[in-house]
């Protein structure tokens, strides 16, 4: 009789450590692949599992190996049909060397595998320089909270509701007429008195007998009708409820005039992705609206938004007007939390900035939960503009908005690491809201 061991309940991910080591080794390559996918994919898909394929280089395990194209070999093969000794068999083409070329090892190069959401986000966050707390909150999937939901007849002993159980028990005892302790004690006292009495009452023996019978009956009844019966027991019932979430809509506004190149658009996209991640975590439903503008604005789908170029001048207020119109038509601010993210290179028609300022102040900021503006600038420019408040006319106009509206944030970004500061306030506010 052999020994049997059931290992099915052992921890499964025995090779998790190996997986992590492998991912670390190919980190650079993975990062490139993920950035590429996020760049070309949809914003809403950024935090999914991603399948990546890796080239064999960098993960090869070299060893001394025979070169296939040298020397003389002999192969023994089964299934000869019509060959006789001395026949010549043409070799298959160099590329399709399967079939008749024996000893083929299955190669492991260029294989695809799936990265989990966590791993994808880790790679995505890498050069955004997010604080760890923020990374943690972004990765966290929708939180559930236990909430009282009445009582149930089954549950774990820790959840017994004592008050409810005792109430049931009490009612049952009354209904079934469970003898009380006082009744029994009264009979016992009576018995003791009779037995102690020296008098010769004629019915004394009779009386004692009746009392004893009554006592027996009561005691038996007490035993049959339990003090707490399993049917009395109630448990507190809890339901796990998702944290109350509402709907949010995120407006992505972007200048797509000629001055916005690939680099600018890529930075803008990361900025949008980050905001979307944040919203997605807080709201059950997050809509995305893409508005691009040159000197006119229009709502477009995501593909067009990032990838089709347009030429023309730059009038920022058109985008704000369009946003206002869409909000009025589709996203009443009573039902929707409205977030806006605007990316631009700061160019604007000089006279238009005033108009923007007015629009923001009077119409848009009262509707918005948050408005984030990023100005994407050259790395060289960042040294000049970085610290000063000088800048384009749009920048100066927006600075005035910032002074009066705490939920407005703006920054200049020249590289990916600059993006996060725009959101600092957004993330910082989080704990305060939770407490409240």
């Amino acid at each position: 009789m052999p020994i049997f061991i059931d290992r099915r309940l052992n921890p499964k991910d025995k090779s998790l450590g190996n997986r992590q080591r492998f991912l670390r080794r190919v980190r650079a390559e993975l990062k490139r692949a993920i950035q590429e996918q996020i760049r070309s994919g949809r914003i809403a898909d950024a935090d999914r599992e991603h399948a990546v394929s890796l080239p064999a280089s960098g993960t090869s395990e070299p060893h001394f190996r025979e070169a296939k194209d040298s020397g003389r070999r002999e192969h023994v093969l089964p299934g000869n049909r019509h060959f006789i000794a001395g026949d010549r068999v043409p070799k298959p083409g160099e590329a399709a060397g399967t079939g008749t070329s024996p000893g083929m090892e299955d190669s492991e190069d260029d294989f695809r595998f799936v990265l989990s959401r966590e791993e994808v986000l880790d790679l995505f966050f890498e050069d955004l320089e997010l604080p760890d707390m923020v990374k943690l909150t972004l990765k966290e999937i929708l939180a559930y909270k236990p909430r009282r939901a009445g009582y149930s007849v089954s549950g774990s002993p820790t959840n017994i509701s004592v008050a409810r159980t005792m109430r049931n028990s009490h009612g049952r005892r009354i209904a079934l007429g469970r003898p009380k302790r006082e009744e029994i004690e009264a009979i016992l006292r009576e018995l003791a008195r009779l037995e102690a009495d020296e008098g010769k009452a004629p019915d004394k023996a009779l009386r004692i007998g009746a009392l004893r019978a009554e006592l027996d009956r009561l005691e038996r009844r007490r035993r049959i009708i339990a003090f707490v019966d399993p049917v009395d027991i109630r448990f507190n019932r809890f339901e796990t409820l998702p944290q109350p979430n509402a709907n949010a809509v995120m407006f992505c506004l972007m200048d797509v005039s000629g001055s916005m190149g690939e680099r600018e658009k890529d930075l803008a996209k990361r900025f949008f992705v980050l905001l979307h991640l944040f919203l997605k975590r807080r709201y059950e439903r997050t809509d995305l609206v893409f508005i691009r503008h040159t000197h006119t604005a229009q709502e477009v789908d995501e593909e067009t938004f990032f990838h089709s170029p347009q030429s023309g001048g730059t009038v920022v207020s058109t985008a704000l007007e369009e946003m206002k119109r869409i909000v009025a038509r589709r996203y009443p601010s009573r039902e929707w939390n409205i977030y806006a993210a605007q990316a631009s290179d700061g160019d604007n028609l000089a006279a238009d900035s005033e108009h923007c300022l007015k629009l923001l102040r009077s119409d848009i900021m009262p509707l918005c939960q948050y408005f984030a503006y990023v100005e994407i600038i050259d790395e060289r420019e960042s040294e000049i503009f970085g610290a000063t408040d000088n800048g384009t006319s749009l920048w100066r106009a927006y600075r005035e908005v910032k002074q009066s509206w705490p939920n407005f944030d703006m920054t200049r970004i020249a590289k990916a690491a600059d993006i996060y500061p725009v959101f600092r306030q957004l993330f910082a506010r989080q704990p305060a809201q939770r407490r409240g």
Partner: protein
């Protein structure tokens, strides 16, 4: 014969299994196997695992315990991908050569499959592990798990102390040399110091006895002496280091000048594991053949005795025929010779020769033909052969005809293959030795040896590659491996390719030329 045995109750019915049925089935199967085949096995430990755990086990080369390394993660991802895509099923079982013999059963298997697996692994493989001379000689079945446990812990501690990167670098280099990290031949036993003293005295005695003063008067050659001395110094050096040395990992572990003790220990761990797997690689056909033959015989015997229902038997047969499926060379499914199929067919053939020999068999196998005792012949073959010798000795013309084997000669720079031999009178011998050579482990991994090193001078490590049949090394991976060796050795390493027949130098590579 067993058809007349009294029919017992069915071992199981339906596809569900539980531990009681498993245990009962094992007892019956063991009894039948011992009775029918006379097997001799280690005690068995059966472990039930899920498919994910099977994947885990795959990625650590089938061992239940393994140290951590990224390459295992890579293999895991690869296997997982194949499995998920449905490109490859998982094995139904895994068996570890240890004492007790550990057999992993997948929980998804049906009861019929579990019975099949029990016969295959717990008896077939188990018997082979316990009795084959290679396993007896080369591996310590009772200590391997303990050793792996030590290795895992040791490497984890090293990672803590020296950092992941440092440990990984050593492991990468050691893995690259795994194939050159085994002793292929048994070492001569070390002489005891007493014997050494005796030998020294004998030698001195001999010199005294053969002393002749006349030799002193011979004039010495003026320039030859110098060359002689150098040659002698080289010879002595080689002798001191026990060169040439085929086990590169062993040589580096013992003689590298730059390695720290923990690094040497890691090399040793990799070397021990490589050595543990060495006999398995030499006995693929025999090991799988033996296990397949055992399950085939035992399952049929059980069916004949009425212990297995017809439905279960059909399922078993279906799985059996999947396992021993051998497509022809021009079939798109062809991926080499199936060791299960070849092993089983050869063993069935041995049984046939022993019991119903033809005239041809009497010619080819005079000892065996008609001997009748096929069990004895098989037990002897399982114990005393490896693939190469087994095929060389037992592959019969009948089987060559059945498989329609042919020998293809492949010269690299020609545009076509030549058919050298087919299954006819003139071809049998060549096909047989050709197939045997394919399984000859002595020929298959690249033969590279340490030939010389000057520890006092440049510390230049010289390796020699014996080039057989003009088969050279692949440039890229060869250079990368040389870099790994240089990392372990610390000084220049060069590799010289020498033709095994003519002794001519074919190529030379040095780690100096290969940019690091």
């Amino acid at each position: 014969m067993s058809r007349h045995a009294p029919a017992g109750p069915l071992l199981f019915s339906g596809s569900d299994w539980n531990f009681q049925t498993l245990s009962h089935a094992y007892d019956v199967i063991e009894a039948v196997a011992k009775e029918e085949l006379g097997l001799d096995i280690y005690p068995v430990q059966m472990e039930v695992i899920s498919s994910e755990q099977m994947l885990d086990a795959y990625s650590s080369i089938g061992m239940p315990l393994m140290y951590r390394h990224w390459s295992f993660g890579k293999h895991f991802l690869h296997q997982e991908l194949l499995y998920r895509k449905g490109g490859r099923g998982l094995a139904y079982e895994l068996v570890i050569n240890s004492d007790p013999c550990i057999v992993y059963l997948m929980e998804e298997n049906t009861m019929a499959l579990q019975a099949l697996v029990t016969a295959h692994a717990a008896l077939g493989h188990n018997h082979f592990f316990k009795n084959n001379y290679l396993f007896r000689q080369w591996t310590d079945a009772d200590t391997i798990l303990g050793y792996l446990d030590f290795a895992k812990g040791f490497i984890a501690r090293c990672e803590e102390r020296h950092g992941l990167a440092a440990v990984e670098a050593i492991l990468d280099a050691a893995h690259a040399l795994m194939e050159q990290g085994v002793f292929r031949y048994r070492r001569p036993p070390k002489l005891s110091s007493g014997r050494q003293r005796d030998e020294l005295r004998e030698r001195l005695d001999y010199e005294e006895r053969s002393y002749n003063d006349l030799w002193r008067t011979l004039p010495r050659p003026a320039d030859g002496s110098k060359a002689d001395e150098i040659e002698q110094a080289v010879a002595e050096r080689k002798k001191a280091l026990n060169l040439p040395e085929e086990n590169l990992l062993y040589f580096l572990e013992k003689n590298s000048l730059i390695l720290e003790p923990w690094q040497r220990e890691i090399l040793r761990i990799v070397r021990v594991i490589a050595q543990y797997f060495y006999p398995q690689r030499q006995t693929q056909v025999m090991n799988e053949g033996c296990a397949t033959f055992v399950h085939y015989t035992v399952m049929n015997a059980l069916f004949d005795r009425g212990r297995i229902g017809e439905g279960a038997m059909l399922e078993i047969l279906r799985n059996h025929s999947n396992v021993v499926f051998q497509p022809g060379f021009d079939d798109p499914r062809y991926s080499g010779i199936n060791p299960y199929a070849l092993g089983l067919d050869m063993m069935l053939d041995i049984r046939r020769i022993a019991t119903e020999p033809t005239a041809e068999d009497r010619d080819w196998f005079p000892d065996m033909a008609g001997a009748g005792d096929w069990r004895g012949i098989l037990l002897d073959a399982w114990a005393n052969h490896r693939d190469e010798s087994f095929i060389r000795q037992y592959l019969s013309p009948a089987l060559i005809r059945k498989w329609r084997m042919f020998l293809l000669s492949d010269t690299a720079n020609e545009r076509s293959y030549g058919v050298a031999s087919i299954h006819n009178e003139r071809g049998y011998e060549r096909i047989r030795s050709g197939l045997a050579r394919r399984y000859d482990i002595g020929a298959s991994p690249v033969d590279i040896q340490v030939v010389d090193v000057d520890l006092l001078g440049q510390r230049h490590l010289r390796l020699q590659h014996k080039v057989n049949d003009g088969i050279l090394l692949e440039g890229g991976s060869c250079d990368a491996t040389l870099r790994h060796i240089q990392m372990l050795w610390g000084y220049e390493v060069s590799l010289e390719g020498v033709d095994a027949r003519s002794g001519a130098t074919l190529y030379e590579r040095s780690s100096r030329d290969v940019a690091c």
